[in-house]
């Protein structure tokens, strides 16, 4: 739209026609206060804080509902305006409890800030205030009614934003109150957006309330460890006896790829980190058959020696490695390098949650969609998956573009997923009907051809001038190929493939495959890797995950090294299968797999380390170290130590201390100075110069960026915390479409998150609360 020019506080501003005055001001650095206005949500004009004086208007006007007009002359601050705002605050404070000293929001409360700014310091109100007890609405949502200033942000974010509509307004006048949908409790997605958006302390978090003061925490923005969307979560951490505890998760700076959004997992399911039953000491199985605590040196030496013996006696092919969906790219990369160069095996795999190799092959240089692309999309085709449950961040972005930009959503699914409510058109197909649907869309003969609805769906879709095609794990191998082929006949298409966990994509990209090197390079093209790693690589494809278990059962797998995975539970493996396999496990907890191990190393989680992760859309992001737990080590460090214990050349594994390797500006060590010392002590003991440590994942990022061209994004931007979309340069491999289909979707819901989820008491409490209440038999 054309620009209009207006004058605000004597400054000439130029802004697109149709802009709200409040936005025009804010985008030019002029702050107009507001409680009820919230960008992207419907207008309320209820709080009257944004009043400004517009020339030729008899009364003060609300900037939140006024659209700019050519020649408009506006004043946003004057004695008259300040008085109006002051009076509004005075009226609010009249019935406000003023329990700021104990209120969760104290120190980060918009009402406090406004009171401070407009100086409503004299208490005029002498009437009796209405007291109401605090109510618990769900395991994670509490409501303190007297503190509520009725800005209706929570109601709108829940309804308009989340499409949940679990909050309403009841009664009227001074009796007005925010009410949950089940009279005294909430039945909702527990996203906690209402808490985040509440300008005061009326809605508080079950996980955080009354725990600390905001200024007693450090706030670290990092990436959520749960689903594959890669939302930014800001962790509030506080020093405790054994490290730094995470006290709170929220989305306070909203600068992440997720915009305003955060789901229950990103917000509350950090609590596994603080659990009492975390492993904090290495465990070694003793002669009596019991796992018992051991010192780091004992455990490392024992594991390293055994692995070395097995490698030297039986060859690398007798050893298997299982990597993780939640470790960093650097760790996944290091793990496969360790497997291939130190253990001399290609027996490496991970729990595959999407067929990324087939996707990489099919893309062949075509554009992949970033999660950010969904925010500005004009049209989206969603095939399979249920983003509301499995990719809540994506679901939010889709709903937002439908609502705010009129994006058109096309849904094809075998289930009646909730996002259909936003769909322009949708088709329900049988569970095995996706290939046939793609054939139909591509104009080939197909079973659905006679279906009028499908025909209309196709017709509308083909009219789109640009399209994001996003598909779930229903698509694998040749189906992905066919889909990308069809999509490529349309104009301006981008693709996205949905996988499950925080770094499922990175695990695949980094080469946790028996037949593929980092960047999906086939073993036949290992030349550059061998050269860079200074080692000959095993040429034959290794065993995949099920094959490793088969080999173990046959007695052919002498050792298995499991990093951050719980394959025994995931694949319902019979524990006895591993009885003759030397098992080394790195984990936070004594999982079903760890319980069978010969050596267990206590590992740090994603919130306790630095590095990068790649979300399922190929957005590369920095994770920062927020928390710390005495006794645990990042997987990166553990792999390096294990390699050292095997007497491998550490400098070859991690190219630290070399020219051209850039440090990470201290990111890796977090706020915890002790860690740097620890690195130094270890380096000296190894007769190494105590400088850039091999435990710093950034020591290996250079190498990744060199060998996996897709990851060669600007490093400075990355370290500054900006998500970087991968470059379209993943290697094509010939046999991708015909690889063995080993994708096992996690089938997680909003309230589960693989094995990790079961260690979150918040997620468990929500799940328990959702069990239908038992009724007496009658």
């Amino acid at each position: 739209m054309a620009d209009v020019t207006l004058t605000v506080d004597g400054k000439k501003l130029s802004t697109p026609a149709g802009t709200l005055l409040i936005e025009a001001c804010r985008s030019h650095g002029i702050e107009v206060p507001a409680f009820c206005y919230y960008p992207g949500l419907s207008l309320q004009a209820a709080c009257r804080m944004c009043v400004v004086r517009i020339e030729k208007m008899p009364k003060l006007q609300t900037a939140c509902t006024t659209t700019v007009a050519e020649g408009m002359i506006v004043a946003t601050e004057s004695p008259e305006i300040a008085q109006a705002r002051k009076a509004t605050i005075e009226m609010l404070l009249g019935n406000h409890p003023l329990d700021c000293p104990v209120c969760d929001a104290g120190g980060e409360c918009e009402l406090q800030d406004m009171t401070f700014k407009y100086g409503a310091h004299e208490s005029k109100f002498v009437e009796i205030k209405q007291h109401r007890d605090e109510q618990q609405w769900s395991p994670v949502v509490f409501f303190d009614r007297p503190r509520c200033i009725l800005c209706y942000r929570c109601v709108r974010v829940c309804g308009e934003g989340m499409d949940v509509w679990a909050l309403g307004v009841q009664n009227r006048g001074a009796g007005s109150v925010i009410a949950p949908n089940r009279q005294d409790h909430l039945d909702c997605e527990e996203c906690g957006m209402c808490i985040d958006i509440c300008p005061v302390g009326a809605l508080t978090s079950g996980a955080y309330r009354y725990k600390t003061r905001p200024w007693e925490m450090s706030h670290v923005g990092t990436v959520c460890t749960h689903c594959g969307d890669g939302c930014k979560t800001t962790l509030g951490v506080r020093r405790s006896n054994d490290g730094m505890d995470i006290v709170r998760g929220d989305n306070r700076d909203k600068s992440g790829i997720n915009g305003d959004f955060l789901c229950i997992k990103g917000r509350y399911a950090f609590d596994f980190a603080n659990r009492e039953d975390r492993l904090t000491q290495p465990l070694v199985r003793k002669a009596n058959g019991q796992l018992e605590p051991a010192s780091w040196d004992q455990a490392m030496d024992f594991a390293g020696q055994r692995l070395r013996e097995i490698r030297d006696s039986k060859g690398g092919s007798a050893i298997g490695v299982i990597g993780s969906n939640r470790t960093t790219n650097e760790e996944a990369y290091l793990l496969q390098k360790f497997a291939r160069t130190v253990l001399a095996t290609n027996n490496i795999d991970h729990h595959r949650t999407a067929d990324y190799p087939a996707f990489a092959a099919a893309l062949n240089g075509k554009v992949e969609a970033s999660l950010r692309d969904f925010a500005g999309a004009k049209a989206i085709l969603l095939l399979g998956n249920d983003p509301t449950e499995q990719h809540p961040g994506l679901a939010w972005q889709i709903r937002t573009s439908v609502r705010l930009q009129g994006a058109r959503l096309y849904v094809a699914n075998h289930r009646p997923i909730k996002l259909r409510r936003q769909a322009t058109a949708s088709v329900e197909i049988p569970e095995d009907g996706y290939p046939s649907l793609i054939a139909f869309l591509a104009g080939k003969p197909a079973a659905v051809a006679g279906d009028q609805n499908a025909a209309a769906f196709r017709e509308a879709l083909l009219k789109e001038e640009s399209l994001l095609i996003v598909f779930g794990s229903e698509f694998r191998g040749r189906d992905i190929e066919a889909l990308v082929q069809f999509g490529s006949t349309l104009p301006n298409v981008k693709f996205a493939c949905l996988g499950d966990y925080a770094n499922s994509r990175g695990a695949a990209d980094m080469g946790l495959h028996p037949d593929l090197l980092p960047g999906y390079a086939p073993l036949s093209a290992s030349g550059p890797f061998a050269a860079a790693w200074g080692a000959a690589l095993p040429a034959q494809p290794g065993l995949d995950l099920p094959q490793m278990f088969d080999a173990a059962e046959r007695g052919d797998l002498a050792a298995l090294y499991v990093v951050g995975a719980n394959p025994v539970a995931r694949y319902h493996a019979n524990p006895s299968i591993l009885r003759n396999t030397f098992l080394v496990v790195q984990d936070m907890f004594l999982t079903e797999t760890a319980r069978l191990a010969d050596v267990v190393f206590p590992a740090a989680n994603l919130y306790e380390k630095a590095g990068t992760v790649t979300n399922t859309f190929g957005d590369l992001q920095l994770v920062k170290k927020a928390a710390d737990r005495a006794g645990v080590r990042p997987d990166f460090e553990l792999i390096v130590r294990l390699a050292a214990a095997m007497r491998a050349d550490i400098k070859r594994l991690v190219s630290f201390g070399q020219r051209g390797v850039q440090a990470d500006f201290g990111q890796a060590r977090g706020a915890q100075s002790g860690e740097a010392d620890r690195h130094g002590v270890w380096l000296s003991a190894q007769h190494q110069e105590p400088r850039l440590s091999p435990f710093e994942p950034f020591a290996i990022l250079d190498e990744i960026q060199r060998l996996v061209p897709a990851y060669n994004v600007p490093r400075l931007d990355l370290l500054a915390g900006n998500d970087q979309h991968l470059r379209p340069a993943l290697v094509q491999i010939a046999n991708a479409a015909s690889r063995r289909n080993l994708v096992t979707p996690s089938n997680d819901t909003l309230f589960t998150s693989g094995s990790l989820g079961s260690y979150s008491s918040t997620l468990r409490s929500v799940l328990e609360a959702r069990q239908p209440v038992e009724t007496a038999a009658d």
Partner: protein, 166 residues
């Protein structure tokens, strides 16, 4: 659909939702009619109405709690609503209210033990030129005096007794 309402009312509701450009427009009248028949807006009534107009129960409760004539708790068979707003106040509305309290032995918003009468002080009911006034259910009683309100209450009691005798 199975319904909580009498066949006549259910039929009325079926028609009501078709009268307007959107179904939801029938909500407020529907709630009133349902209340008239059932006595108050119980949870099952709310659930059925929510379904009839295609909104959530929360939405229905939001609406109910806004309007002063709608209630989610039972009232007396005869709901006595005495106006004490300005025109009535000037002509003795408060005295009529006090008189009713005494006579019925209940406070404002109370219900008699036999469930026959409930009492409520209300805002202006549109009888200012014939003040003081009260409404019993939907019937207006105007130019009231303590004596005349006694008579009115007596008539309702008689009516109830007659109904019970039948």
């Amino acid at each position: 659909m199975t319904t909580l309402f009498s066949p006549a009312l259910a039929a009325r509701f079926d028609k009501l939702v078709t009268l307007y450009p959107i179904k939801r427009s029938a909500l407020v009248p529907m709630l009133l009619y349902a209340q008239d028949e059932v006595g108050y807006l119980s949870d099952p009534v709310i659930a059925e109405i929510a379904e009839r107009v295609g909104v959530t129960e929360l939405e229905v409760r939001n609406v109910i709690s806004y309007y002063s004539l709608l209630r989610t708790k039972p009232a007396g068979k005869y709901h006595v609503q005495v106006c004490t707003n300005i025109s009535c106040m000037l002509r003795g509305g408060n005295e009529i209210l006090d008189h009713c309290k005494k006579k019925l032995g209940i406070p404002n918003k109370g219900t008699t033990a036999d469930g026959l009468f409930s009492l409520e002080e209300v805002e202006c009911i549109g009888a200012c030129s014939w003040a003081p006034a009260a409404q019993v259910n939907y019937d207006f009683h105007e130019n009231l005096t303590p004596e005349s309100i006694d008579k009115v209450l007596g008539e309702y009691r008689a009516k109830a007794e007659k109904g019970a005798a039948k």
